[in-house]
């Protein structure tokens, strides 16, 4: 009898331990922890898994790549391409704030690449303010960032720290099951990069590389529209934005990218495999396509920042 009671107690203890252990391993930060700053409209989770959304988000290239291309192609820094950092008070919903954060993130990258540290500081202040409003300000150690921004020798460190911060924010928002904000941040950032390259291309109409860069955004456009499609049923703001992006996508669809795969060749240099990519691609487009894309980008961007 005593033995049976003893065994039952052990059994009960084990069940409790296993249950607690299982619950603990699934413990995630509650989305409600940041709900105080979220819009009053509760966004339902999309039917697609967060992992799939996260995978697609991961694919979207950094706007820094476009800023670097612009600098390498000897185009001059032009502040007038960027959104005014003083406009943050205009952004009064989390939808607007997340989009603006993406826009300012790209603008900051552009100022960084061109080593315009004084302008970078204005953008950093706006970014910090918007990030605080969205409860993601903890990712910005503004003291360190400002210290780096005041010395052009620290450009690499500044780029690194801001890139890491934006990557961390995206990961955090996904963990918090707030991928809708992450998507807005990325969409705002990507559109701003496209806007800047479109403006530079308009000013340099003979630069074919810039036109190709615009055309190649077709691939990213498809991803952005796909990401938004997961939220059109649950988020009226994203639904509205998605409509505009889908119209832009129609214009991109008129561009054809033909690729020919050829086996790469290799050599090892200092312990690193250096690939010679022998594949080629050809972009079939005309100036009318680019002009139409440019005009739509200007219109969407105007709508986002105002």
């Amino acid at each position: 009898m005593m033995k049976n009671i003893f065994m039952k107690n052990i059994l009960l203890g084990l069940v409790v331990i296993v249950t607690i252990s299982a619950c603990d391993s699934k413990k995630k930060p509650s989305a409600d922890e940041i709900s105080g700053v979220l819009d009053s409209v509760k966004i339902e989770e999309p039917s697609i898994s967060e992992d799939v959304i996260s995978d697609i988000i991961q694919q979207i290239p950094s706007p820094l790549e476009i800023s670097t291309l612009l600098k390498e192609s000897d185009t001059k820094y032009d502040k007038s391409y960027l959104n005014d950092p003083e406009k943050i008070s205009d952004y009064n919903s989390n939808y607007k704030k997340a989009l603006a954060l993406g826009v300012y993130g790209t603008d900051l990258g552009y100022t960084n690449i061109y080593e315009q540290n004084q302008d970078a500081l204005f953008y950093l202040n706006s970014i910090k303010s918007l990030a605080d409003d969205l409860s993601i300000g903890q990712f910005f150690d503004i003291g360190t960032i400002k210290r780096l921004a005041t010395n052009s020798k620290n450009l690499d460190s500044l780029l690194l720290i801001t890139t890491k911060n934006f990557n961390n924010i995206n990961n955090y928002l996904q963990e918090q099951r707030r991928s809708n904000l992450s998507i807005l941040l990325l969409s705002g950032g990507w559109l701003e990069a496209l806007y800047i390259v479109a403006r530079v291309s308009e000013k340099n109409p003979d630069n074919e590389q810039l036109k190709e860069t615009i055309a190649e955004q077709k691939i990213i456009m498809d991803n952005v529209v796909l990401l938004m499609s997961f939220y059109v049923e649950s988020d009226p703001n994203i639904k509205q934005l998605s409509g505009k992006f889908s119209k832009l996508q129609e214009e991109f669809n008129k561009i054809e990218i033909k690729t020919v795969y050829r086996e790469p060749t290799y050599e090892v240099v200092d312990g690193m495999l250096v690939v010679k990519d022998n594949s080629t691609s050809e972009i079939i487009m005309d100036d009318k396509n680019i002009e139409s894309i440019r005009n739509q980008v200007y219109e969407i961007r105007e709508n986002i920042i105002n």
């Binding site: 049976n4 065994m7 052990i10 059994l11 084990l14 069940v15 331990i17 296993v18 252990s21 299982a22 391993s25 995978d55 991961q58 694919q59 979207i60 290239p61 950094s62 820094l64 790549e65 670097t68 291309l69 390498e72 690499d156 780029l159 690194l160 890139t163 890491k164 990557n167 590389q209 190709e212 860069t213 190649e216 691939i219 990213i220 991803n223 990218i257 690729t259 795969y261 790469p264 290799y266 090892v268 240099v269 312990g271 690193m272 495999l273 250096v274 690939v275 010679k276 990519d277 022998n278 594949s279 080629t280 691609s281």
Partner: protein, 142 residues
């Protein structure tokens, strides 16, 4: 009853083992990896490589590479080698573009001057790995 307790004991043991594998500190490897990008490359992304003690045989990420840019992908973990972590790069049609397993040796980085803009897949696999744990970083230059 004894069998039931034994079974629960096994579950408990398995749970604690899987938790100990979950301690793969990919962040540490990523942090160590960033300064190892070659001079001139700008950091873009970091990737966690957690094979969960061997429970996963593949970890995959994707990224849109742009024509005209050169990308460097680097693998890091404890020690000098790659602990059996192999990176294979595939293009959007799943053609193999490059692998760190090359001519009998396992290298820790790839430089890829991209000629075709598109989605590329970074696939990390484990071949004779002891820790199934590492980090990787992606940088670019033009």
């Amino acid at each position: 009853m004894k069998k039931l307790i034994f079974a629960l004991g096994i579950i408990l043991l398995t749970t604690s083992i899987s938790q100990s594998y979950a301690q793969c500190n990919t962040e540490k490897h990523v942090e160590a990896c960033i300064p190892k990008l070659q001079s001139g490359f700008t950091f873009l992304k970091s990737y966690n490589i957690d094979g969960q003690g061997g429970a996963k045989n593949k970890v995959e990420y994707s990224y849109v590479f742009t024509k005209g840019a050169t990308y460097q992908i680097r693998i890091c973990n404890d020690g000098e080698g790659t602990d059996g972590i192999v990176l294979t790069l595939y293009d959007s049609n799943r053609n193999s573009v490059a692998s760190t397993k090359y001519e009998g040796s396992t290298l820790s980085s790839i430089a890829f001057p991209c000629q075709v803009t598109g989605i590329y897949y970074l696939t990390f696999t484990f071949e004779g790995s002891s820790n199934y744990c590492g980090g990787s970083v992606l940088g670019f230059k033009r």
